[in-house]
């Protein structure tokens, strides 16, 4: 038992280093923040009431009235960086209590695969709509690019989703049940309906490459009409595929995701439209790209409105979307979206400008998805975002405002 065991001191140092790297635990300030610094026996004047404990003055001298002064946390200031140009508006600091500064919620265990899936799933949906539009209005370049991109994106989605599972070999357990209370179960069935349709539509694009004789000749004749039906079926499911991911994120206890539930589906719908439009701008000649330009404008408008709303409407819970990685990604997404729309409108006669704006729209979609993802994760990691809004809710309820 004792052989090969790591000395305890080693474990301790390793653990503290790991926590410090995660940003969860800040040992160098813990004594002040948590009020555990002074050892037992230190008099009140010695700082038994820690620096961060306003309200302790009320308690001193109230010996016969049991007033408990819980250790107060000072919100973690060091992690916030002031952005360039003072863009990061700060919510007034509020005091709150926590258990050694530890998060109350478990941060999502989803890795970057899920953020990437948010993008590829939206891209597939937007591309399918673009392809169906191209199919119905006689724009073959849009149809072809949309169908092929949709298949590629939905294949990548399936990979990301399975890869993120703790037990990837058990991915098919998702198909045991259909539960409307589980957005992930609903999404599984949406993908199950969408994937084969998008796949068949894309495969049909290759029909003209088949030989004209024999079985392959039969396939050559049957595939295009089948592809038409499949393409329309994929487009019919596509809006559900693009928007259910908003419910997927909002259907958690992660504060900044849950409270953003009115906006998330809109942001993701806009982002999906914009990325689908980006594919059209990249792949289609200028003569056929008109609908893609209009789709880009509509998608960008939804995306920008939604992102602006979550960054401003949620009070304290908007903060994770403005700070740190999430803030940088969402700002980048906004700039890229604006650039993409300007390029799409200005580059009507230029293939190069159109392609550049399409690339910008795709990049904007990636940045927005990762920004929303990181914002939520940051809000789950800091107990402040759990405690303060819930305290506010209690206060409102007790004052009869709800």
């Amino acid at each position: 038992m004792t052989t090969g065991r790591i000395p305890v001191g080693e474990r301790f140092r390793g653990f503290r280093a790991r926590l410090a790297a995660d940003g969860v635990f800040r040992p160098q300030r813990s004594s002040v923040r948590l009020g555990h610094g002074p050892k037992v026996g230190a008099g009140p004047a010695d700082g038994a009431h820690p620096a961060g404990a306003p309200g302790s003055a009320d308690a001193v001298g109230a010996a016969d009235v049991p007033v408990v002064v819980p250790p107060r946390d000072v919100p973690p200031v060091a992690r916030r960086r002031r952005g360039r140009g003072g863009e990061e508006l700060r919510v007034p600091e509020a005091e709150f209590t926590s258990y050694y500064g530890r998060p109350i919620l478990k941060a999502p265990v989803w890795r970057w695969d899920i953020a990437a899936y948010l993008f590829t799933g939206g891209l597939a949906a937007g591309s399918s709509l673009l392809a169906a539009g191209g199919q119905l209005t006689g724009r073959p370049a849009l149809r072809r690019a949309g169908r092929v991109t949709a298949l590629g994106a939905v294949t990548a989605s399936a990979y990301f989703l399975v890869n993120d599972l703790g037990r990837p070999a058990r991915f098919h357990h998702m198909l045991r049940v259909a539960k409307p209370t589980s957005p992930m179960s609903v999404g599984t069935w949406i993908l199950t309906a969408y994937g084969p349709a998008a796949g068949l539509a894309a495969v049909a694009e290759g029909a003209r490459l088949l030989p004209e004789r024999g079985v392959s000749g039969l396939a050559r004749r049957l595939l295009p009409p089948a592809g038409q039906v499949a393409g329309l079926a994929a487009a019919a499911v596509a809006p559900a595929l693009a928007t259910y991911t908003g419910v997927l994120l909002a259907g958690t206890a992660v504060p900044s995701w849950h409270e953003a539930y009115p906006e998330l589906p809109t942001i993701f719908a806009g982002s999906a439209l914009a990325s689908g439009a980006g594919v059209g701008l990249l792949a289609a000649p200028c003569a056929q790209a008109g609908p893609a330009r209009r789709m880009a404008v509509a998608g960008a408008a939804l995306e920008l409105w939604g992102a602006h709303s979550v960054e401003t409407r949620l009070g304290l819970l908007s903060e994770p979307y403005r700070l740190g990685t999430a803030g940088r990604l969402l700002r980048a997404g906004r700039l890229l979206t604006a650039a993409g729309v300007v390029g799409a409108l200005a580059g009507r006669r230029s293939r190069v400008v159109s392609a550049l704006s399409g690339t910008a729209l795709l990049a904007a979609s990636v940045a927005t998805r990762f920004g929303i993802f990181h914002g939520g994760v940051a809000s789950a990691r800091d107990p402040k975002y759990t405690v303060l809004p819930q305290r506010e809710r209690i206060r409102r309820r007790e004052s009869g405002q709800v």
Binding site: P44, V68, T97, G166, H173, A269
Partner: protein, 315 residues
């Protein structure tokens, strides 16, 4: 037949889940005012449920080296050291004579003191210190977000009204972990699946008490029919208030709260967040109908925008 309160509000969860001959709902009442921080519950839980090792790290958080409820810690004893004004008589001392057991004089046993610190020296000499201990556990919510969002059906409601993960079904999607408003259920590293307290489903089935409650030496952890535990808890709070512990309060006992009441509830001596508990948790599925409506609206807007893009222009 689903109840109107299936997603939110007071509910008896086992019949709602389809059990036709379910007995009374069983649960835990954890009275932290008598917890002595021995961690017997943590050990008993690990032993019975064969939970892998954890807690060998020194965290620098008082005597808490477990840190939090995790996949490998289904009971977690929290230790909170607080500066409390001198003379305050907190719960363990309330109602006991101030000068120790009567009749026997103090005997020197070679230890720093024969009595708890501050007991014999009078109020003026006492230190500003209070120690809170609390054995945390899965709350087995009436409206369990983990169960509602599980896409595989791995999490299920038992006939005792508790919530259990089936490890042969779980595929480690991690959705329950983000959905839990208490941060209880967790993914086991190297295993990939989600794990949490089962309220000793196997022992309950055999009519036994869960391992942690069985091992608790002070009956801080009490197991029984939830209605009975709620009555007992209310009496205990009243008794503590009468003895001069006004800060005693129940947590998770109210069937009208944000999760419809907890199957495992607590008596606390401070605000919930001091122990690392959320002050007002709400199950995420309360807003689910509204979420789906918003998603449907966004999907319609998206379809309309795509149609307009193809129909509306000249080029």
């Amino acid at each position: 037949m689903p109840d109107g309160n299936s997603l939110y509000g007071p509910l008896d969860p086992a019949p709602d889940a389809g059990w036709t001959s379910a007995g009374p709902r069983m649960g835990f009442f954890t009275d932290t005012s008598v917890c002595i921080g021995c961690k017997a519950c943590e050990v008993a839980c690990k032993e019975w449920n064969a939970v892998p090792e954890s807690g060998f790290d020194l965290l620098g958080m008082s005597y808490d080296n477990t840190g939090a409820l995790t996949a490998n810690s289904w009971r977690h004893v929290a230790f909170v050291e607080q500066p409390v004004p001198a003379g305050h008589r907190s719960a363990p001392f309330a109602g006991t004579p101030p000068d120790g057991p009567s009749g026997v004089g103090p005997q020197f046993l070679g230890m720093p003191g024969a009595q708890p610190p501050g007991r014999g020296t009078g109020a003026a000499e006492r230190t500003d210190f209070r120690w809170l201990m609390m054995s945390d556990v899965c709350k087995h919510c009436t409206h369990a977000a983990c169960l509602d969002v599980c896409p595989t059906g791995s999490l299920f409601r038992t006939e005792f009204g508790t919530v259990v993960v089936q490890e042969d079904i779980c595929n480690g999607c991690g959705y329950c972990i983000s959905a839990c408003p208490y941060g209880v259920i967790d993914q086991r590293k190297g295993d990939g699946r989600a794990w949490k307290c089962t309220l000793c489903y196997d022992r309950l089935g055999a009519g036994m008490t869960p391992a942690c409650a069985q091992a608790c030496p002070t009956e801080s952890i009490q197991y029984g029919p939830l209605d009975e535990l709620r009555d007992r808890a209310a009496q205990r709070v009243t008794a503590l208030h009468d003895r001069g512990v006004p800060e005693a309060r129940l947590y998770g006992h109210d069937p009208t709260d944000g999760v419809g009441g907890d199957g495992a509830f607590f008596l606390l001596l401070d605000e919930p967040e001091v122990y690392g508990l959320p002050p007002d948790p709400v199950v995420t599925t309360r807003d689910l109908p509204r979420m789906w409506r918003r998603a449907g609206l966004a999907a319609l807007v998206m379809t309309a925008a795509a149609v307009a893009a193809f129909v509306g222009g000249s080029s």
